[in-house]
């Protein structure tokens, strides 16, 4: 499923000549053996762009990235460690020059935004590599202590149910509300 999505985007880019070099016969294929340290480093970069530090810490820390990596390794969201490899290839195609990791930050942000525009679907939809990784970054962040209880509000024991309150500007949403509770796998 992820492979199919990747091929579609490659052929779109191939028609513009950008990816033509990669399709030439005789090109030695890159090793797709995932390297944990490198993968975690890439996830940190992406998470920092997706959820940057504002008045609260963002998602760019090692803990979040390691959680995403472990979850992919265990197949969460039908992902795998190959998802990161596939994602990096897509990102490499979306920046000019020598690949995503070494691109200047503005190019990285633009590249990720271009992939992010295609994210539109949940359970049952075909997930692109970025959609899968994004989903896990968000899960990691908003279930972390910072994300759940500082960036948003966390209440272990509400003690009451107020069925109708006015939305007050400045109030932050609950990370523990009923809608955050039903967990897709």
């Amino acid at each position: 499923m992820i492979g199919a999505q990747y091929l579609t985007r490659r052929s779109l880019l191939a028609s513009s000549g950008v990816a033509a070099a990669l399709l030439l016969p005789g090109c030695a294929p890159e090793s797709s053996e995932p390297d944990e340290t490198k993968s975690v480093a890439l996830i940190m970069m992406l998470a920092d762009i997706a959820i940057p530090t504002t008045d609260t810490l963002g998602a760019g820390g090692a803990e979040t990235a390691k959680w995403v990596y472990q979850s992919l390794a265990r197949g969460m969201r039908d992902g795998s460690l190959d998802t990161i490899v596939a994602l990096e290839k897509e990102l490499d195609l979306a920046v000019p020059g020598k690949g995503f990791r070494r691109a200047p930050k503005p190019h990285q942000v633009a590249a990720l935004e271009s992939l992010d525009r295609f994210v539109n679907g949940g359970k049952g939809a075909v997930l692109s590599p970025w959609a899968t990784v994004k989903s896990l970054i968000f899960r990691a962040y908003y279930t972390s202590e910072v994300g759940a209880s500082q960036e948003l509000r966390y209440e272990l024991v509400p003690g009451r149910f107020d069925a109708d309150l006015p939305v007050k500007p400045g109030d932050r949403a609950w990370s523990t509300d009923a809608n955050a509770r039903n967990l897709d796998r």
Partner: protein, 562 residues
């Protein structure tokens, strides 16, 4: 050969009905042995994950997908299954069962003290008079040997003990109960109700889904704290479970003996007395087998396992299964229809929000085939629904990254409203539960085989429900999604039937007192006893039937008949 201890009553299973049988019988003065196949879970102290925040769990609540796939492939499909609650569900690898791939049945189970009463949806409804008359009126199944009026005082009795929140609506189709307060509806829900009433000339409404949650402290139990983490176990005792309510009541009498990790292999039938003379129990830890004896036996092992005990108890005198002179044991098995529904945006409510998590949705009571048949199918359905405000979870799968998007997620998201069917399934002989020919489970017991599929009536009902759901939620805003597709059997966890009640011993297993036609001292009061399925959650009816059958057993024991 005979048991180490003598009891007045043995109750098999400590779930919703077993707990009730233990409470009623001990309170009526009888010595009771309560046998639970699973492990002990002590109220409060054994709710290990109740207060754990998501960041302290290895997979933040989602759980290890690999573990779910390998050991919980069926249980992990369930609504309340997650990394906090998974130990309250069976390990599917330890307890396999058989079914055809063409008609999958998701059999959700909890083998532990309290059974599914620890993880149930707490939905609590009386059947209506129409439900008890349905089989007689349209000819599907056999006529119930009781009517609503027979059960009404027992609904009162059960509701007063367990504590039910709900709103009085005065509807014949969803009779009011003995409510202890009610939870409030949100602004979109109130608007939806008003629009339904207007659009359908008062013939459709919605009300807060009635549930076994306390709105005030009651007899040592605390009131609901609106966390909606019930299936982890609630130390407040705020929802009804064996642990929070019936077990303490039974233990208070001093007449209860409880054994756990003990599975009933079979019941011994004595043809001379035509009664159960012993209950064969396997201690799962020691592997020791013991036979216990009692004057009466209440089989409350949960629908499919109760039928399993009956088949495993076949003997020379009863070769087709215990109490199965009719031949219908295992047949006429039912599960509710689910899957069809629709959702829409509700954009007018952006200025409204909520605090706390109401642990129950709303219900649109049955409006089809009520006063008269007004569709191309028999019986009816309800809709369960909720108005939800999008949370950070929606952002997982939508465009939006960077600082501005992060800040925008501070505000509560947009409202949506969705409704989904719970529909009555007809009793059919070909839908059945039996022992599999091959295969045993971890404890050496024969596996069960489940053969279940919905029929034409259910398919027409699903199509109608999708059409109606779209029209109804469309009153609130643009349609987001709709479906008419059936969820697999087992999805509602309302499996019932297989040892049905009826007036005629040739076509039913139990009489109007839940007593086996063939065996005077055997009572079955869990879901297996049901002759039809109605369109509301069945647990309150199971509890009421149990309490009523215990009173009948008491009469018979006091009269010396048992």
């Amino acid at each position: 050969m005979s048991g180490e201890l003598q009891f007045d009553a043995i109750v098999v299973g400590s779930g919703i009905t077993g707990g009730w049988a233990a409470k009623e019988l001990t309170e009526r003065g009888f010595r009771v042995l309560l046998i639970e196949r699973g492990r002990h879970i002590e109220h409060q102290t054994d709710y290990e994950t109740e207060m754990v925040p998501p960041w302290e769990l290895p997979f933040r609540g989602y759980g290890d997908p690999q573990l779910w796939k390998e050991q919980y492939p069926v249980q992990s499909e369930g609504r309340y299954f997650d990394e906090w609650t998974y130990k309250h569900f069976v390990n599917d690898r330890d307890h396999p069962y058989e079914m055809d791939e063409t008609r999958p049945f998701l059999w959700k189970r909890s083998y532990q003290l309290g059974g599914k009463s620890l993880v149930w949806g707490r939905q609590t409804y009386r059947w209506s008079p129409q439900d008890f008359e349905a089989n007689a009126k349209d000819g599907h199944g056999v006529d119930w040997p009781i009517r609503y009026d027979d059960l009404a005082p027992w609904y009162d009795h059960v509701e007063k003990f367990i504590g039910v929140q709900g709103a009085h609506e005065g509807l014949d189709v969803l009779p009011d109960g003995q409510f202890l307060g009610q939870f409030d509806l949100t602004a979109p829900e109130i608007a939806f109700r008003d629009r339904l009433k207007k659009a359908y000339s008062g013939r459709r409404t919605l009300t807060v889904a009635r549930s076994a949650h306390l709105t005030a402290e009651k007899e040592g139990r605390g009131k609901c704290q609106f966390r909606m983490i019930c299936a982890r176990g609630c130390s407040y005792g705020a929802y009804f479970s064996t642990q929070s309510a019936t077990l303490p009541a039974a233990q208070k009498t001093g007449r209860l003996t409880l054994i756990t990790d003990s599975v009933v292999e079979s019941l011994q039938y004595d043809p001379a007395t035509r009664k159960i003379s012993g209950v064969r129990v396997l201690d799962i830890r020691s592997k020791k087998k013991t036979v216990y004896s009692s004057r009466v036996v209440f089989l409350c092992a949960s629908t499919i396992d109760t039928i399993g005990v009956m088949f495993r108890s076949a003997s020379a005198e009863m070769p087709n299964g215990l109490g199965n002179s009719s031949g219908v044991l295992g047949h006429y098995f039912m599960d509710h229809v689910a899957g069809a529904g629709a959702s829409a945006m509700a954009p007018e409510f952006a200025a409204h929000t909520t605090f706390g998590n109401r642990p129950t949705p709303f219900i649109v009571p049955r409006f089809r085939n009520v006063a008269e048949k007004d569709t191309n199918f028999d019986r009816g359905y309800v809709f369960f629904g909720s108005a939800t405000q999008r949370s950070w979870r929606s952002a997982e799968t939508a465009p939006g990254i960077g600082a501005e998007a992060k800040t925008m997620r501070h505000a509560p998201g947009s409202w949506g409203i969705g409704i989904n069917i719970l529909g009555e399934a007809l009793p059919r002989s070909e839908n059945r539960v039996l022992l599999a020919k091959n295969g045993v489970d971890r404890d050496g017991l024969p596996q069960m085989r489940i053969e279940y599929s919905h029929g034409e009536n259910e398919k027409k009902m699903l199509a109608d429900a999708e059409r109606e759901a779209k029209a109804m939620v469309g009153l609130m805003g643009p349609l987001v999604y709709s479906s008419g597709k059936a969820a697999p059997g087992g999805s509602t966890v309302h499996e019932m039937g297989g040892a049905r009640m009826g007036k005629d011993p040739r076509t039913s297993v139990l009489n109007g007192r839940n007593q086996a036609h063939d065996i005077a001292n055997l009572f079955i009061t869990d879901g297996a006893c049901m002759s039809s399925s109605a369109s509301v959650n069945p647990s309150l009816t199971y509890m009421a039937l149990t309490a009523r059958a215990c009173a009948a057993a008491e009469d018979l024991m006091k009269a010396g008949a048992l």
